[in-house]
Every structure is written in structure tokens, then in C-alpha cells.
Homo-oligomer: 321 residues x 2
Amino acid sequence: MTGPHTALIALDWGTSSLRAYRMGAAGEILETRSSGAGIQHLPAPGEDGFEAAFEAICGDWLAAAPVPVVAAGMVGSAQGWREVPYLRCPAGPDALAGASLGFETRAGHRVTIAPGLIHDPEGGTPDVMRGEEIQIAGTLAAHPEAARDALIVLPGTHSKWASLRDGQVAGFATYMTGELFAVFRAHSILGRLMPEAAPDAEDWDAFGEGLERARDGALGHALFSVRTLGLTGRIAPEGLADYMSGLLIGHEILAAAEAEGQDRPLYLVGEGELCRRYERALSQLLGRAPAAQPGNPAPAGLFSLAGAAGLLAPEKETSHV
Amino acid sequence: MTGPHTALIALDWGTSSLRAYRMGAAGEILETRSSGAGIQHLPAPGEDGFEAAFEAICGDWLAAAPVPVVAAGMVGSAQGWREVPYLRCPAGPDALAGASLGFETRAGHRVTIAPGLIHDPEGGTPDVMRGEEIQIAGTLAAHPEAARDALIVLPGTHSKWASLRDGQVAGFATYMTGELFAVFRAHSILGRLMPEAAPDAEDWDAFGEGLERARDGALGHALFSVRTLGLTGRIAPEGLADYMSGLLIGHEILAAAEAEGQDRPLYLVGEGELCRRYERALSQLLGRAPAAQPGNPAPAGLFSLAGAAGLLAPEKETSHV
């Protein structure tokens, strides 16, 4: 199963899932595995849980080929395997590698964990990311032109809008769009009129109406229309979740566009279904299309981190990380 | 217990509670009772539950003095005792009385339920209230000068900003501030760093910082600062809920002031503790103070409804309602 050409094992280790990539010397993915052993769902508490999840997902790969391991995501948080402090923006790929933390597992494998990023502008509030910085690094590996001046948008539970300038992440902003949607649907009056099961197909009309309503302003007021449009029968129960999705995504896109400027090249990174929503929203609200949609750039980002950290070049195997 | 001077029984019957007022001919409150038998917590399902809760809270009053009964709140909703359709804005106190619905209970008591209000502006989304229209009527009874041109603000789970013009409720807007606070605290990542138990005292510094941060704009982004200010230790865990409260109330007040104009007389209606927060917020963000704070105007509103519906004048006891 494991060939002699394995060069790196890369782990994307988040809160709710763990993904492992066995990669070749040119950065190609030779094999992918995933497990539910996110840092909040480990098989045992604390250190034992990390060791066990690690062994389960890539122990045999390492037995066959003892290569370097890099990891990113919540595995480097205060609740992670090792805490790797946030690196301050502006920060580029080399700084990311320099701030990563190497350690040995109990079985003697060397693991290098990437830091998260913190953006802490004067007079503002701080913003943080963990995991997305590696997706950004992967996006830049595939689209080096983005490093000069671009917005990289990573939709999700906590969407990130990263501003790239002069080869560095100059800053970024988090929008809690995905979490707000989930929490309102499950725990607020807004979910009350929605059917229990998600409808089979998207209601793009309702989604588009939600986008349009996002222009009306204050979210705390606009949200109540999810209820009243349902109560008055103007949107069918099956369409209410898509209407709310449009309202929340529209709120995010309009606010981020106002904060970041509308003319910069824009890269949309993430899962297909969610990115389709953002594509529609960008088109309807701003008349814009993304410059590219890099899919899942995490493996490429981890490979790039390993390179910048000197883990891939034989003569640097004993580097500082 | 019940004297011969009882003129009206007034019920403020909401989702989670039922309050009953025995009132005299001049609108004075002779006795107050409350129970947990809101329409979602009735002692039995459906009609039986309403009859039982009604009998329990005021059966003895009616046995002693068979006076008219008026009610307002969710008791008139589709899930209520009788559904009373929403009345469209603009609407004044007389229209409210005209659109109320009278019926007889099984025991033969006549009960008159007030309608809710719907504001459905051209090109906008509809907004609804049930119960607050009676608090507005009570506010106008105590402060008739407000009817000409004022904002009546009712903070709560779903805060209402009602615009009064020429003796009528011209329109209103709902802000989901109270529900957002509760849902984020209990079910989102934002509550994660807050202590389980509410702190003994308000942290007004944290509240004030939240208000200030509300000026930064998009709520979906600003909310994430509840987490990052906690993570970075800039706000202590005990202050995070008050910071979030400030952020949400500030968002409401800034948006409503922008929508409604900042110079109109402003009446703040509701519970003391919550109103104190709104008072601070109005002062800090807009440099404004409320014209008056009418406390709980629901009994006065119900009394006024009864008068407008002709229920209090002996010669009109067989009116249309």
C-alpha cells in the first residue's frame, strides 16, 4: 500500500474531523484518509487521545516510510496536542514555517504543527484563524499571482476574508455566518416554521430574495423577516432556510465588500455546495465572479509549509523546527 | 376579597406567562395575579387548557362580580384561545378596539381579545407584534402627547420600535436582540468562555465597550470579538456576557436611530433592569435620554381598550364586540 515514494504525511486536524494525506516528493496526493477524531472527538482524553488518533490514521504509513509529518488546525490550539501560539499579521508563508512547532510523539515520530494567525489592528478587536492559514498557503501555491493583491474568501462555520498584499496575509476578518445559520435554525424561533428535514433541493428563489433583503441593513431586524415571511405565507416553509441562508451570506458579502474594497481579485476556497451559494451571492449583489475556486488547498498548503520549514530537503532534515 | 367596585378584568396572556388585573371603574388596579400558564404552558392541551387556566386565575373574581374581561397577547394568535387577525398599520386605539374579538367561554363569561398589529410597508418585509400594541395603548393613555410624534421603544426578547404619528401607530420594527443574546449564550461558541452562572453584578465597562464596538458595523463579524476578546484575555470571562449585551443592544439602537430619525421624543417601556441598559446605551451612543419610562403599561392599555370597545359604559354592554 505504501510505496517508497512517500515524502510527507500531512494532517488537517480540526475540531470535528481529522484528514490525512500521504504525499509524494512533488506534492502529489498518493492517498487520503479521514476520521471523525477531531480534537473534540478523540478516542481518549488528552495526550492519549491524540497519540491514539494519530497512530490509527497514519501509523502504518509511518511504519512503511518514516517521513516527516506536518499538521495544521485546532490541533495547535490551547485544546490541541501542542499549543502553537498565534502568529501576528502581516505574515507570509516563511513566517508561518518559522513559527511552527516540532515535537516527537511517544513512538518517536517527528510532528510539526503550524501556528494560527492573529490579526490585531490598532483600535480594533483581534481576529484569529487556525487551519485557514494553511488553505491560504495552498491557494498561493496554486495561484502565486494572488499573493500580490487579492481577497481570499473561505466560507464556512466561521467564514474568513483574508486580504493578501505583497506576498503576505495583511489582515483578515471572520464572519460567523455558518454558525449563525445553524444556531438560528436549531435553537431560535426562526427555525420553528422550517420543516425538520432539509428539503431535497435548494430553493434558489428564496435564497435570492434573502440576498436582496440583506441590502436592507441591520441583521438583528432583517432576521425577523424569516419568521414574518413564513407567517404570512409569502415564503413556503421549505424555502425559509434558503431565505435565511441568503440573508446571512448576503450580510457577510456586503459588509466584507464595504470593508475590503470591491475591485480586488477574489478567490473562493472551500466545499462545492457552499461555494456555489457564495458565487451566486457575489454575482447577484456585487456583479462579481471569483478569479478562481481552488477547491481544497489544505494538502498543498501543508506541503508548502513542509518545504518552507526545510522538512523536505534531505540536507535540512535536522532543521530548527 | 372581591369588592363591589370591580369594573373590569384584564388579562395579559403571553407565550410563557399569564397576568391578571382586577381593575376599578377609574382604571385603578385593585388586585394582580400571575401564573405560568402562558399559551405554551397550559394545564391541558387546546380549548380545555385555556378554559382551565382562565378559571384558575380569575374564576373567583368573576363569580363575585360578573364584569367584562379583556385580553391581549399571544392568546389571540393562531395558537391562542381564539385567533384575532392582525390589524394593519397605521392603526390607532379605536381601530384596535374595532378589530378585537368577543366570545363566550363555556362558563358563559364574555371575553374580548385584542388583535395584534402588522406593519407591511410597500417593497419591504412584514413585521408583526402581539401584546406590545396594548403596552403602546397604555403608554398613550398615560402620555397622550406621545401620540402626535414619538418613538415608543419596548426592549425584550423581540424588541419593538414603534413610530407614533397623528394618533396612530404608523409602523414599527422588530429587533431580535433578546433572543439573539439568549441563543448565542446558550448555543454558540460565544457562550463557551462565559461562566455558567450569571455574575452577581453587571460589568458596565464591558457593556460600554460592547456598545462602542457596535459602531464598527456588521454584526456577523463584530460578534466574533466576543470570542477573541475572551481568548486574548482583554475581557474577563465574567464580563463577556455584558460585552455581548452591549454589542447587541448597540446594534439595535444605532440601526433603529438611523431608520427612524434621532430627534423624535422617545419613550422606553418595560422592565427596570433591561431599561437601564437601554438608557445607558441611548446616552452613550446617541447622547439621548428617554422622554419617559412608563413601567408596565399593559393594564392601562387593556383598560383603554375596554373603554374604546364600549365595554365599560353600562349603556353599551351589548356592543358589537
